[in-house]
């Protein structure tokens, strides 16, 4: 399986730990269509690293200040980032933190006992969906969405049962490797 684009391949070459003849040869053999670019990039990466130690100019200082202003203006939104994930993004999130889809779905439905979720997992999930662990915890602590949906229907609402994170992982047929990744509180 190799669906990496030309840019991905050149980026990968650039970030190799070293760019010795063996590394260059490996990439040239694997990607003959990128021979020209790989040779040019190899030369670029061999350049002497120049780092200025002289003071930066006032113009550069102003640039830095302006960049900071723009950076703080790019305020992360405050919407519920777990609830608003698109289907495609949900797949990416599951892939990124290596959990079955059902686990994410149950988390989105607030059907998991928050106290049972390993902190490390919350931090990883928050990082992937670009949220803070505290905001994520707060969101997960809200009432079950499945219960809320039932309440809107004609039928008598049935409170959804919340399960522990470990139980959910096991119910979702998580592999032993996936289970071992998170330390459960026995």
């Amino acid at each position: 399986m190799n669906s990496d684009s030309s840019e991905d391949i050149l980026d990968a070459f650039a970030t190799e730990p070293n760019h010795d003849p063996a590394t260059l040869q490996r990439y040239l053999r694997a990607h003959p269509e990128l021979t020209d670019d790989l040779i040019d990039l190899s030369r670029e990466l061999s350049r002497e690293r120049e780092v200025r130690h002289t003071p930066l100019t006032p113009k550069e200082d102003s640039y830095r200040e302006a960049a900071w202003r723009k950076h703080v203006l790019a305020v992360p939104d405050t919407e519920d980032r777990l609830a608003t994930l698109t289907v495609e993004r949900q797949r990416e999130v599951c892939r990124a933190i290596d959990i079955p889809r059902q686990v994410l779905s149950s988390l989105r439905e607030h059907q998991v006992l928050v106290a049972s979720i390993p902190r490390a997992f919350l931090e990883q999930l928050a990082a992937v969906i670009r949220w803070t662990p505290d905001a994520l915890t707060e969101s997960l602590s809200r009432p079950s969405l499945a219960y809320a949906r039932n309440y809107k229907s004609e039928e008598k609402p049935i409170p959804a049962t919340q399960v522990s994170f470990e139980e959910l992982m096991r119910q979702s047929c998580a592999t032993e490797a996936q289970l071992a990744k998170w330390q459960f509180d026995k």
Binding site: E16, L41, R43, H53, H71, Q124, R130
Partner: protein
């Protein structure tokens, strides 16, 4: 809630389906730095000398800027961000109207924009900087240079590959004349910088041949399994040797003339 030590964010960018990882020394240092109070972390990030024991590598500084992505304006966040941009400015050189100056500005603009976008949606491209900051910055410069040259057609106008000097003994005559990658000379920082700038002035084919020679490739081989310079540049052995010789002559002239700029 299960208590745990602060975890270090995993990278999301993947290669052949496998997530990239930071260098082990960066991971170890992050596990140490993550416990520092903000003022101490900032103090350490202010250290410029890479040889200082408390120096914080660029990969770690970027990690902490990205980790504060959800924060609003505050003094610690501002300091860390500005220290990161300052390091980029020092590494890229001063933006001006020269080709290098334009490249510096372009890369700086794109990286600051990427950092801002990363606050909204995780930008996997930034993971490359956490894997190998200095080399990925060179890759971004490489991309910017290619784009700039495409725009100005400079490669075609100024660096057109010259015709071969078909004098049969041309390559032989200049062989041994000059060894640009002599290990002794390459120990000298000034020589390396001057050589880089001198090679920049050569036509693209000569630059490629010199790079392959530097990497230890042979001009030609009877063994079809061997990757040779002739094969990789798709040129005849004689052409490769002649272009290499022509490149050596030009390099020697440029270097002897003093400042190649």
């Amino acid at each position: 809630m299960v208590p745990s030590v602060p975890s270090i964010r995993q990278l999301q960018k993947r290669k052949d389906g496998v997530p990239y990882t930071r260098r082990s020394e960066i991971e170890h240092l992050l596990r140490e730095l993550v416990y520092l109070p903000a003022n101490r972390l900032i103090e350490r990030c202010q250290i410029e000398s890479r040889d200082a024991p408390d120096y914080v590598p660029d990969e770690c500084l970027l990690y902490f800027v990205r980790e504060r992505r959800a924060e609003t304006e505050n003094a610690d966040f501002a300091q860390l961000y500005k220290l990161l941009i300052q390091r980029l400015q020092r590494a890229l050189g001063e933006p001006d109207e020269t080709e290098n100056g334009k490249i510096a500005q372009d890369v700086l603009d794109k990286v600051t924009m990427a950092l801002a976008q990363d606050r909204q949606t995780y930008l996997e491209k930034l993971d490359y900087f956490e894997v190998n900051f200095a080399d990925y910055l060179l890759k971004r410069k490489f991309d910017a240079k290619k784009a700039l040259r495409r725009k100005t057609f400079r490669t075609v106008e100024l660096n057109e590959d010259p015709k071969d000097d078909d004098t049969p003994s041309f390559a032989e005559r200049v062989a041994g004349l000059f060894e640009p990658f002599d290990p002794k000379k390459m120990e000298l920082r000034d020589y390396r910088s001057n050589l880089d700038a001198a090679i920049d002035q050569l036509p693209p084919l000569q630059q490629k041949i010199l790079e392959l020679k530097r990497q230890g490739f042979q001009f030609d081989s009877k063994d079809p399994q061997v990757d040779t310079i002739a094969k990789l540049t798709n040129k005849a052995d004689k052409t490769v040797r002649n272009q290499y010789a022509a490149g050596l002559v030009a390099l020697r002239v440029i270097l002897e003339a003093g400042d190649p700029q």
